[in-house]
Symmetry: C2
Amino acid sequence: MKFIKFWGIKSEIRTIGIDDGPFEPHKRGKVLLVGAVFRGGHWLDGVLSTYAEVDGTDATERVIEMVNRSRHRGQLRVVMTGGMTFGGFNVIDIKEIFEKTGLPVIAISRKRPDMAKIKRALKHLPNWRERLSILKKAGRLYPVSTKQKAAKIFMQIAGIRQSDAEKIVRITSTRSLIPEPLRVAHLIATGVIRGESTRGA
Amino acid sequence: MKFIKFWGIKSEIRTIGIDDGPFEPHKRGKVLLVGAVFRGGHWLDGVLSTYAEVDGTDATERVIEMVNRSRHRGQLRVVMTGGMTFGGFNVIDIKEIFEKTGLPVIAISRKRPDMAKIKRALKHLPNWRERLSILKKAGRLYPVSTKQKAAKIFMQIAGIRQSDAEKIVRITSTRSLIPEPLRVAHLIATGVIRGESTRGA
């Protein structure tokens, strides 16, 4: 299967937005991953969590486990992630998440990722070639406009057509430039680790 | 000051709902407290967190600190809590929270608390007379109907008139029988500690 076909996208579509919490960079340790399960762009239906290693290589596996073991799995239609890396450079393989959960994946970035900079940073880490190849495998970066007269955001996709992904990103971006499940996952992950949430994602 | 007067309650009123996470009962340890800052009954504006001792006596102080240090403090109009105790029998003093934050407090319970049962349980703990007197000081339990043809919920209040508290509880109970800030604080606290949130509050 190359992509999931959507026959019309409901405003109440169930999605999960996954983001990481703050962590001490370049140090062995775990980073909190939070999944916010949403009904459309309005209602939080559930919260999932797991941990991955800072600069490790287990984020893909942790995300897959977290989604597949959830009692919300049956209702979910799409996975959205806050970027392509969690806990520093623990790269997530969106194609693998699609294959192993059966759910299309949309990785969202507020800014266009600076691949040259990422490549330089990656080179300090073990398995850097593999990490880089996972990032490259994620394919094209599509700009998406979620609000009129506002900056575009960027997405990479797996298992979904560009037009369907754009619709889902727009439907769920109710309160800010980014999809509500990602905005809320970010608030939760930063609020629980730091004591108070920070804006942005 | 005996209570805060509300001159009209806006649908976008800023409230914080505070609930505790799961914990191992009757064992020394900490319990996670989560505060969900809401705009009306729809939008999560921020997440706060702190820890209190299981069966300890510090919950009141931890709640006051968490609210007062928040950058949302200036916008907040009301504090709502999931019941009168966190982490077992760490009793919260809603009158003291009102006095030290300047914000009215509404403690919400889904069911009418069984005071005889609570009293029996309290007697196994140090300072039980003081804990009981804090609970009693919270005063009358008011039933509130948040949805037609559904069970009533219960509130105890400090620093606010019954009619204003009822309005705020109804305005913020958009998605379930209980105010949305409390529903979401519960989802976050259980989701982060257990890996997946549980329903109810």
